[in-house]
């Protein structure tokens, strides 16, 4: 029964994606940014849905299982303030520049802003490399969920493959419009089903008071921040949500907005949406310690699915698993589409010699790159056994550390391409260093002081941007005038 419901859900998402293809105008601009026609509700749902992935559902509950309520303070609470603030100061301006200069990608903007092909190429490589761990958590999350709810009848590798195929199909069919529609539908599904899951499981545990009392008796440390999180870690973690300023998929979604006013809804309701999704995830992760004590490390990724399976088997488990899928797919689609957009515009189209690439060829190129990226991600998901939360945080760290690049591009006329080069290369070098340190030591912080690596990389990146710009010749006035 569970499996049938999951397949029905996947079929429904496919139908929505394929149906939206009827509105496809056959142009590159329509495929990649939906002809800049997305309204307030769809923009809110797609920005939010894109940002909430396996990380927010499986990763959050897995991390809360080990760390307790502090997880809510670490991620969603800080993000509730920082993400809309970034949308307010950065997103709206990016949208205006995108419309004025007919931009389709982030790389295109930075390349033109600093008049440098080399910088565009470097950013393309760095951003794809940073996005791969983020894609990975979606594919892994899909595999884990399906394997768990079907009790191993569908192995993890098959679940991951299924997720890839469904997303691949609807993204290929309708591009951004299809992605936005499917995202809106799936975001509503995972918000509603997340609430349903919470109430059903908490009811089975005897109510919220009883569940909390059981946790207080067995694991009181999960109901306070205590030694699980240090104050300096909480403070430095707030740098992580700055990553939304540099995520290629969010950048692309900003460009889809119909007008500046379209941003009003996402700005106002994002913090509320984030609380609605994370409260059940964190609490259910904590309650998982009652039913499934002793899970070690990455094994806790599946605690939510185990809870669903234990307390809500059958049809409800299928629906609830569909909610988890919804969260995963609503991110995977935008990420893959934005990568294929960058490949088509910034590599194929930009470096093509001879005639301009036809609209049809642009769409085809985007579709082929989507397939290639999915193939790489899928293969990597088969060999990765890392915590979903940890993988996501490493990806976010890299994008957050690139934040000075977008700030300088938008607000600092004197910034130069050499400053931007210095900033990006500093991020790449330091990220690799800290990533390999973190690979060896789970829960790694700088010198094990509680300071998140993102703070060091972000500060170094900002210094590199400032020093690199001030030491080099100011940009040409004609270039600056185009963007200010």
């Amino acid at each position: 029964m569970t499996t049938i419901i999951i397949f029905c859900y996947l079929g429904l998402v496919l139908c929505i994606g394929v149906l939206s293809n009827r509105f496809f105008r056959g142009t590159g601009e329509d495929y990649f940014v939906a002809s800049r026609s997305i309204g307030p509700f769809l923009l809110l749902m797609s920005l939010f849905g894109t940002n909430m992935t396996a990380f927010a559902i499986l990763g959050a509950s897995g991390e809360a299982y080990h760390t307790g309520i502090g997880v809510f303070a670490l991620m969603p609470s800080g993000a509730a303030l920082i993400i809309p603030t970034v949308f307010f100061f950065i997103g709206t301006r990016v949208w205006a520049l995108g419309k004025r200069h007919n931009l389709l990608t982030q790389v295109q903007y930075f390349r033109r802003r600093w008049d440098s092909d080399g910088l565009g190429l470097l950013l393309f490589v760095v951003m794809i490399a940073l996005l791969i761990p983020y894609l990975l958590i979606g594919v892994m999350g899909g595999g884990i969920t399906l394997a768990q709810v079907t009790k191993g009848q569908i192995p993890q590798w098959a679940g991951g493959l299924l997720i890839c195929l469904v997303v691949l199909t609807y993204v290929s069919f309708g591009g951004m419009r299809s992605t936005a529609w499917a995202n809106a539908f799936q975001t509503l599904v995972f918000m509603i089903l997340g609430g349903v899951t919470f109430f059903v499981i908490v009811d089975k545990l005897g109510g919220l008071d009883s569940a909390l009392a059981q946790v207080a008796a067995a694991h009181p440390e999960l109901l306070i921040k205590g030694d699980n999180i240090s104050p300096i870690k909480l403070l430095t973690y707030t740098c992580i949500p700055l990553s939304v300023g540099m995520f290629p998929h969010l950048f692309t979604h900003w460009l889809t907005a119909k007008s500046a006013r379209t941003f009003r809804w996402p700005l106002m309701f994002y913090p509320l949406c984030i609380a609605i999704v994370w409260i059940p995830s964190v609490l259910l992760g904590i309650f998982g310690s009652i039913d499934f004590p002793g899970l070690k490390g990455a094994a806790a990724n599946s605690v939510l699915v185990k809870m669903i399976d234990l307390h809500a088997p059958g049809a409800l488990a299928g629906l609830l698993a569909a909610g988890v899928f919804a969260a995963i797919m609503s991110s995977l689609d935008s990420q893959v589409l934005s990568i294929s957009n960058m490949f088509t515009q910034d590599i194929v189209r930009h470096y093509r010699k001879g005639d301009e690439l036809s609209e049809k060829a642009q769409v085809l190129s985007g579709r082929l790159f989507v397939i290639a990226i999915f193939a790489v991600t899928y293969v990597l998901s088969l060999v990765s056994a890392r915590s979903i939360f940890a993988l996501a945080v490493w990806s976010f760290t890299g994008f957050a550390a690139l934040f000075p690049v977008v700030v300088a591009a938008l607000f600092w006329k004197r910034s130069t391409k050499y400053g931007a080069f210095a900033s990006v290369l500093t991020v790449a070098a330091l990220w690799c260093y800290f990533f390999f340190q973190g690979w060896k030591i789970p829960g790694y912080t700088v010198g094990m002081t509680g300071v998140m690596p993102v703070v060091v990389i972000l500060a170094a990146s900002a210094v590199a941007m400032i020093v690199g710009s001030l030491l080099t010749k100011p940009p040409a006035k004609s270039t600056v005038d185009k963007f200010f």
Binding site: I69, T85, K99, R100, L223, L235, A260, M268, I279
Partner: protein
Amino acid sequence: MNATVRRLLYLGILVLYLLHNDLWLWDDPRIVLGLPIGLLYHIGFCLAATGLMILLVNYAWPSELDAEDEEQAA
């Protein structure tokens, strides 16, 4: 008036950012309104962020973007 309100709202972002660090609740195990107080505080923080964003959108909106948009449409 508008510039002052705008500055105050920007200051509000900073104040809220500082309030995010609830050191005074770090080891507090109390259950308030059916939830651990450390969690309840941050749920309240999300609601406060929503309120601040509503104020920003209504009183500090970068209206030059709307003007530019209308210009382009015309």
